[in-house]
């Protein structure tokens, strides 16, 4: 187990190093000077030079890359060009929106998908299965921002149960915070739940055909007992993979939902920073997201090993 974990850890570190080079290169290559963006069309040449020096944009690219990576290693993400506040502080503030939102959506998606997938697998080919499969098809096909707009139309504009967007802040209490994240979480969760339910169903169906399931029935377990005790547990491996991927997606990929609900999350920060050429913020946030995705994958790998002892011995 330890060797397996160590191997995974080394591959994680290599991925991070490669990612940092790629991120820096791609973002620096894109045209647009942060200083002239901030000072606009009437800025004079000497003003621009003064600002560039102030922002530390006058060094060579290599030097700036090393400063950036070196800073991150000791937890210093630099200072935003436009906001002039530490990037780590900004990321921390935004994570307080994005992370709970991702977890909320993931919880909803799992809560919907597990019963739906198991139900459909247990009633394979029957009307119940068809209904579940039909709705998941729809859930996958419809983009989440459309769901988001429909939710706003129904629950915010017509019924007035929720605000159309915005985040009240955790300082107003946990319920108020969760309340304002509910519509975005549902919009994010529905398509994910649809995918997850399908994976759950097909994984279970594969398992149901296995020999050990027949054995389980033969030793006297009811269908239901066999399904829950042996089937679901074995179906968890592909499902965990998908949940891991979905969590990364929910954390990194909620840019559009954060725009639609004007939430002050990480996605919106990146969006604003890209258009303002706030390079240091873009680089650091993207790096952080890469870190999060790779780490989640690492944890999922470990979780496989926990669920399936065969993986431990194989390495």
């Amino acid at each position: 187990m330890l060797r397996y974990a160590l191997k995974r850890l080394i591959s994680l570190l290599i991925s991070l190093a490669v990612a940092s080079v790629v991120i820096f290169a791609v973002i620096e290559v894109a045209p647009g000077d942060p200083a002239s963006f901030m000072l606009g069309v009437n800025a004079q040449e000497d003003t621009l030079a003064a600002l560039r020096a102030e922002l530390g944009l006058d060094g060579s690219k290599m030097q700036r890359y090393l400063n950036w990576v070196g800073g991150m290693l000791v937890g210093d993400f630099g200072t935003s060009y436009t906001y002039r506040t530490p990037v780590s502080q900004m990321i921390a503030d935004r994570l307080w929106v994005s992370l709970p939102l991702a977890l909320y959506a993931l919880t909803l998606s799992t809560v919907i998908a597990f019963p739906a997938g198991i139900y459909a697998a247990a009633r394979r080919g029957k009307p119940g299965d068809l209904v579940v499969m039909g709705s998941t098809q729809l859930g996958i096909a419809v983009p989440n921002f459309w769901f988001a707009m429909m939710l706003v139309l129904i629950f915010a504009i017509n019924l007035r149960w929720f605000n159309a967007g915005g985040f009240v802040g955790w300082s107003n209490g946990m319920w108020a915070g969760l309340h304002s994240l509910t519509l975005p979480a549902i919009a994010l969760a529905l398509p994910q739940a649809a995918i997850l339910a399908r994976v759950m169903r097909s994984a279970l169906l594969d398992i149901l055909g296995e020999d050990f399931m027949r054995t389980a029935r033969a030793k006297g377990l009811s269908r239901r007992q066999a399904l829950w005790r042996h089937g679901v547990r074995n179906a968890l491996i592909p499902v965990l993979t998908i949940i891991g991927l979905q969590f990364s997606f929910l954390l990194a990929g909620s840019i559009i939902i954060e725009q639609v609900f004007y939430l002050p999350g990480l996605g919106r920060l990146v969006f604003q920073a890209i258009s303002a050429r706030d390079l240091i913020v873009v680089e650091s946030v993207v790096m952080l997201l890469v870190f999060a995705v790779i780490t989640v994958n690492f944890l999922v790998d470990l979780a496989y090993a926990a669920v399936d002892p065969r993986l431990r011995s194989r390495t």
Binding site: P34, Y83, A164, G165, F167, Q272
Partner: protein
């Protein structure tokens, strides 16, 4: 019976008290949405209009200020005298003005502000406003003498800009996140990415505003803007990003729609040094190939005023020159043939993100194609536009709205990105700057407008409209935008 009477009495009291409470709670807070979030809150070191929208006249004030109708009136300067040769301005400051941190605003602060803007390492985005300042002296705590190198009739106007607001030396270090000014509202809180809150300043030197608190919320997505307004999450949307939704708000008694003008001349900017646009016949052909009304209807849903020169139609000195470049594709083709381009030519059309440019650009390209000009559309982000078009001058055509007030002077700068070089125009601007007589200034401005119109420097499209949406009960909003500002001091709720 006594019990009954007591109960009635108590009920009356309770009802009365709750009535009083409602009276006292007459709405004194407001939530105003805007599309862009300010990068920081120092209007003296950035070009972002969103900064001015939040802080101008609310947190910070200048020696002079703009009113909603575009006029310039005394601000922190009560009055001023101009020397006979027009080079020395002596400002008399208002007495008893304090900054939000309690310190007194005096002549030393004015000197500090102006010196900071003109300094070698100044980060002021409009440094040119202060270019003529030779020296600033604090004669006594309430008198400031500013000496200019040459007369400048525009000086009080320049000082009204958000880039010229008075700041205190001690507050500079943290001004970007904790702005301290002299205005009727003080900075309270900023949840980055979400909102900024201001509170009424009880020590304000002028009239107390009706509002106690104001929250600025940032909603960039047009669909989200519509939803936020419809769900009544916000009370005002400063510049509503989706003109197609306005009729719906107009028809809804819960809302009012405010259509006004801005200082934004939207132009088809033309690279005067790039072939074939260095030929006036070609530029004239482009001008006649464009149907302004079709662009206004198609891109702006009918909101916008056609212009025939680079000047705001609501300005008293405006001359209507749209006739000089009336829509006439046949004439455009004839002009192209005369210039030697019977078969047209190919060029580029760079479009920045705003919808006036992206939507307008599609229509312009189609209209140019009618007369044989193939314009390749290149969509760019602002940072890219600034780098390649504005600074690199690597473009044929681009669409952009020039939002600075009274900016016809840019045509006197041959190195400006559209690269118009006319000694006649430059001489005209020199004369204008040296002139203080209002009538003579108007005449010169008219001449300047005519010159750039008949030189067909750029394709002049329309004056950008300001489209505000607000709840029906909100009063005192600026309909027009003489500068980027949301002046909270006049806003109140009707009963």
């Amino acid at each position: 019976m006594t019990k009954f009477m007591f109960r009635t009495f108590a009920t009356t009291l309770a009802v009365g008290a709750s009535l009083l409470a409602t009276q006292a709670l007459a709405k004194s807070d407001i939530t105003i949405a805007m599309q862009l979030e300010p990068p920081h809150l120092d209007p003296t070191s950035a070009a972002a209009q969103a900064i001015d929208s939040v802080v101008y006249t609310n947190i910070f004030e200048g020696l002079t200020r703009f009113m909603g109708d575009g006029s310039v009136v005394p601000g922190l300067a009560e009055s001023w005298e101009i020397s006979d040769d027009g080079t020395v301005y002596t400002f008399k400051l208002r007495d008893g003005v304090t900054f939000h941190d309690g310190t007194t605003m005096d002549a030393e602060d004015v000197k500090f502000t102006l010196d900071r803007a003109t300094a070698e390492d100044s980060a002021n985005a409009q440094k040119a406003l202060f270019a003529g300042i030779e020296s600033v002296e604090a004669l006594d705590p309430l008198t400031v003498k500013v000496t200019l190198s040459e007369p400048n009739g525009n000086f009080p106007f320049n000082l009204a800009w958000g880039d010229a607001v008075i700041v205190a030396p001690d507050s500079i270090e943290n001004i970007k996140t904790n702005p301290i000014g002299t205005g009727a509202f003080s900075f309270d809180n900023w949840v980055q990415g979400d909102s900024i809150t201001l509170n009424r300043n009880p020590n304000y030197w002028g009239d107390q505003p009706a509002l106690e608190t104001a929250t600025f919320k940032f909603i960039s997505d047009p669909t989200a803007a519509f939803a936020a307004m419809m769900a009544e999450d916000v009370d005002v949307f400063d510049n509503f990003p989706a003109p197609e939704n306005l009729p719906q708000f107009d028809a809804d008694p819960r809302f009012q729609v405010l259509v006004g003008t801005t200082e934004g001349e939207t132009i088809l900017s033309t690279n005067n040094k790039q072939s074939p646009f260095d030929d006036i016949l070609v530029r004239q052909a482009v001008a006649h190939a464009i149907d302004r009304q079709a662009i206004i209807d198609g891109a702006m849903f009918g909101y916008g005023t056609p212009i025939g020169t680079h000047f705001a139609p609501h300005h008293p000195a405006y001359v209507d020159l749209t006739g000089e470049s009336a829509y006439d594709p046949e004439q455009a083709k004839a002009l192209l043939a005369e210039a030697g381009f019977e078969n047209g030519f190919e060029t580029t059309l760079h479009l920045p993100p705003p919808s006036y440019a992206r939507r307008g650009g599609e229509i312009v390209a189609a209209q140019l194609a009618e007369v044989g000009i193939t314009a390749e559309i290149i969509n760019v982000e602002w940072a890219q536009w600034l780098e390649s078009v504005f600074r690199g001058k690597d473009f044929g055509l681009t669409i952009v709205s020039h939002t600075e007030p009274m900016d016809i002077g840019i045509y006197a700068r041959p190195d400006y990105y559209f690269q118009y070089e006319s000694t006649d125009f430059q001489a005209l601007m020199d004369t204008l700057n040296a002139t203080t007589d209002p009538d003579e200034r108007s005449r010169l401005l008219g001449e300047a407008q005519r010159l750039i119109s008949t030189d067909y420097v750029n394709g002049y499209l329309f004056q950008l409209a300001k489209l505000g949406v607000a709840k029906a009960g909100v009063q005192g909003l600026w309909a027009n935008a003489p500068t980027a500002a949301i002046d909270l001091t006049q806003i109140s709720w009707s009963e």
